[in-house]
């Protein structure tokens, strides 16, 4: 049984998702909140495996909640709710600790599949996001090691490359001679590396500022 919590300010969407989850046998809704304040409480209480979180909350940024949840419970999976899966928001969410995203306009029936997928170790990705990740995590020109705590493996690079050129998970699996599930796992690992690297970078930046005391 996958215990799911949801933080979403639009009651209609919240209700729709709750409805879909209720119909599923292996997923249950354990908690829901509609703001950053109530979301904080929800996270502190815990007791969920998957957190579905909206980014645009009336009293603040969902990313702070994601960061908090990811820090408190390393074993949970977090999905962001987004209108368009636009690269900015999705990448920010992943840096905060999310492992996937749900589109608000999808037939919400698909959201259960996404919850199962992410729990099974796979993550969704769009070609544009794959391309941006390639640029960020595997730059062509040499970068100092400090900015790249966790470099991508060759397999991960290959996966990202194929995904960025529009191949679906099943096509990638076929081209690389691996299972579709493994492709999803690669993507999830890549997301984790992005999170780790961006956190390291933030620390690095902060220590730099502290040391150099620039204005």
């Amino acid at each position: 049984m996958i215990r799911t919590a949801i933080i979403e300010d639009d009651p209609r969407i919240s209700a729709d998702i709750a409805e879909v989850i209720r119909q599923a046998d292996d997923v249950e809704l354990v908690a829901s909140a509609g703001s950053v304040a109530t979301g904080c409480k929800l996270i502190d209480e815990g007791g969920f495996d998957v957190l579905v979180c909206d980014l645009g909350l009336p009293d603040g940024d969902g990313a702070t909640l994601i960061r908090k949840a990811a820090a408190q419970y390393p074993d949970i999976d977090i999905l962001v709710l987004t209108m368009f899966a636009d690269h900015h928001k999705v990448l920010d969410a992943i840096r905060a600790g999310a492992r996937g995203y749900l589109l608000k306009d999808q037939k919400l029936g698909e959201c259960v599949a996404a919850i199962r997928e992410v729990r099974n170790g796979g993550s969704p990705i769009s070609p544009i996001i794959a391309r941006l990740l390639l640029k960020e995590l595997a730059p062509q020109e040499a970068v100092p090691a400090s900015t790249s705590e966790e470099p991508l493996s060759d397999r991960e690079k290959e996966t990202l490359h194929l995904l960025s050129r529009g191949f679906t998970y099943s096509e990638c699996a076929e081209l690389m001679g691996i299972s579709q599930h493994t492709v999803g796992t690669h993507v999830k690992h890549i997301y984790r590396k992005l999170e780790v690297n961006s956190r390291a970078e933030a620390v690095f930046e902060a220590s730099n500022r502290g040391m150099l005391d620039i204005r």
Binding site: D10, R12, I13, D16, G56, M83, F84, D86, H87, H88, K89, K104, D105, Q106, E110, S126, P127, I128, R131, L132, S164, R165, G166, F167, T168, E171
Partner: protein, 631 residues
């Protein structure tokens, strides 16, 4: 070997010049001049013409000092007596001409003192290099038995000698005197004082630029040659005669060393410092050698020849340098040093006790220093002029470079500002659009949910869905993909995959790596995405296809590089003319394509599927980006 031929020519010219008997006067009365090739010599340290002790001798007798030292105790004095027949002389104003007498000279004719070249017996007159002309009073001259007596005197350690004596036409001898006076005294004094003046100027120059060693050596060359040459034209010794003599003798080695040092420093020969040090060491060695030789009262020919040898050696070095870089300067220096060597040899041959030849009839050494110095000065001047030219061209090129750099800087600054502004505008636009879309989008999603729940208005549902898809395309077009058409197309596939699945159409994906399209900014990307999306939408709605192939590959059109996107389906096809409801969609697609400067072709036949190909150029061909035309 132009150089060798040139040297040979110079030498030949010199020989011709030396052979011209400009001042030679044969002892025949036909020229109106008598030259005494013999006479009588006596040694007596007194003030009257001696009665006895006369010996017949060849004249000029320039080397009497050894004999005089042997016969006399104090100062050296010698007498020369010449008898001649007055009738041999022309009937015109007459004069006595004499030169090379060392040092104090008194001239008597028939017992009457006519001339003396000194103020008193103690004055340090230098007569050895001076010509004298003494008009003969007509009354003193007899027809026969004229007696011309010369008394020469000098201090004990100096040389003593009776020089050349001629008597005859004042016209002829005056010309001779003028010639000799110029080359021995006036000319050489003028040359040396001019050199001294220029040396001072060079010294001031060197004070301003101490690092220019060649100017230092030029100064030394001028100074040392002046010191060396002073005794050629000085009327009296400026300091104690003994020291003056020593200074005059020994300065020669250092004048030569300084001249050669100049050449070496000027040409910046490899390890020139060591060579200069060696030259001066040789100079010192020759001084010591000379002291040793003259202390034994022998003539010192060896050191004089040694200086010539050193000059030739340095010449060899300069010639080697010339072979390396073929500069005009090194050639000029070789020429002048060689010429100086020849002149030096000429003077050595004229030394009374060497007496190989009379040469030009005067010592050329005072001019040798001047000549060397002048050529050196010219070389320095030429270097200076060249440096000026270099500075000018350098300045010009620097100015040019500064100007280009300034322009480039200004341009890059403008570009940077433009980029900054564009970047800021772009980011702000993106933010606004995303916020707007989020707002519109959430309303659309809400409406869609409501319509779906009711399930009674499929058209409304479709319209709302299309509006949402359109918004997604807009958001995608904002992604920073750096003109990567494949990534945009891939995202479109990703977006439409659920729709294709729903319609039961299989997507065959064929993309190849493509060149990036720099002009593909957000508005253009949106045009491209909308064309393809419309094409896919048409297939899904009308074609009843089972599969759609989306391909993207590089392709050339009319010799221009480009990227071609092709959609093919296996549907029922259509005839463009018969397309009714969707006509506006097609014409919109064409409008967008022309906005892009792209080439759009849609081919179809009934029952044979359809093919849409969109060719995009890599270079925009002077078209502006659509950003300026889009709001």
């Amino acid at each position: 070997m132009i150089f060798v031929r040139w040297l040979v020519a110079c030498f030949a010219a010199y020989l011709c010049w030396a052979a011209v008997p400009a001042a030679a006067t044969p002892a025949t009365p036909s020229t109106g001049v008598l030259e005494f090739l013999s006479g009588e010599i006596a040694f007596a340290d007194k003030n009257e013409i001696p009665e006895a002790g006369w010996e017949k001798r060849q004249t000029p007798a320039l080397w009497l000092s050894d004999e005089a030292r042997a016969k006399l105790a104090g100062k050296l004095t010698a007498w020369g007596r010449f008898r001649f027949d007055g009738r041999l002389l022309p009937d015109e104003p007459l004069a006595i001409y004499t030169e090379n007498n060392r040092e104090r000279l008194t001239v008597y004719l028939n017992g009457v003192e006519l001339f003396r070249n000194y103020r008193s017996a103690t004055s340090q007159t230098l007569g050895w290099n001076r010509p004298y002309i003494i008009p003969v009073p007509q009354k003193l001259l007899r027809d026969v038995g004229n007696e011309l007596v010369l008394r020469v005197g000098s201090d004990r350690q100096f040389s003593l000698g009776v020089g050349t004596v001629k008597v005859g036409s004042q016209e002829v001898l005056g010309r001779l005197y003028n010639y000799q006076q110029f080359w021995r005294v006036t000319g050489s004094a003028a040359a040396n004082y001019a050199m001294l003046f220029l040396t001072f100027a060079a010294f001031v120059m060197w004070m301003a630029r101490r690092s220019e060693t060649e100017i230092f050596w030029l100064v030394m060359t001028g100074l040392l040659w002046f010191v060396r040459d002073f005794h050629f034209f000085a009327e009296e010794s400026p300091l104690d005669p003994y020291w003056f003599q020593q200074v005059s003798y020994y300065s020669l080695y250092f004048a030569v060393a300084a001249s050669l040092s100049f050449c070496v420093a000027f040409l910046k020969l490899s390890n020139h410092r060591r060579i200069i040090a060696m030259l001066f060491a040789i100079g010192v060695a020759l001084c010591i050698f000379r002291v040793a030789i003259t202390s034994t009262n022998r003539t010192d020919l060896a050191t004089s020849l040694a200086t010539l040898l050193v000059s030739l050696l340095v010449c060899g070095l300069i010639i080697r340098e010339w072979f390396r870089n073929r500069s005009l300067e090194s050639l000029a220096l070789v020429a002048v040093v060689l010429f100086g060597t020849v002149l030096g040899l000429h003077d050595i041959g004229r030394i009374p006790n060497v007496n190989w030849w009379q040469g030009l009839g005067f010592h050329v050494q005072p001019f040798t220093g001047f000549l060397l110095f002048s050529v050196f000065l010219l070389s320095v001047g030429r270097k200076y002029l060249r440096a000026l030219t270099e500075v000018e061209t350098l300045n010009a090129s620097l100015e040019e470079r500064v100007e280009t750099a300034t322009h480039a800087l200004a341009a890059s600054e403008r570009a940077r500002q433009k980029i900054e502004v564009e970047h800021a505008v772009g980011i702000e636009r993106e933010r606004l659009m995303r916020e707007m879309h989020d707002g519109i989008g959430s309303n659309l999603v809400t409406a869609l949910a409501v319509v779906r729940k009711q399930g009674e208005a499929p058209v409304a549902e479709e319209t709302l869905q299309r509006a949402l898809t359109d918004l997604k395309l807009t958001v995608d077009s904002l992604a920073p993909v750096e003109g990567d058409a494949v990534a945009l197309l891939a995202n479109l596939r990703h977006r439409m995959e659920p729709d294709m699945e729903k319609a039961g159409v299989k997507c065959v994906w064929r993309v190849e790596p493509c060149p990036s399209l720099d002009w593909l900014d957000a508005p253009n990307a949106l045009h491209m995405l909308r064309i393809i999306q419309e094409g896919v939408g048409n297939v899904l709605s009308h074609a009843h296809a089972t599969s759609i192939t989306i391909a993207c590959c590089p392709s050339k059109k009319d010799g221009r590089d480009g990227v071609e996107l092709v959609l093919t389906d296996d549907g029922c096809g259509f005839i463009a003319a018969n397309v009714s409801g969707n006509g506006r969609g097609l014409s919109n697609m064409h409008t967008r394509a022309s906005q892009l400067g792209a080439d759009l072709r849609i081919e179809s036949d009934l029952g044979a599927g359809s093919k849409l190909s969109l060719w995009l150029p890599v270079e925009m061909g002077g078209r502006k980006s659509a950003r300026s035309t889009s709001g």
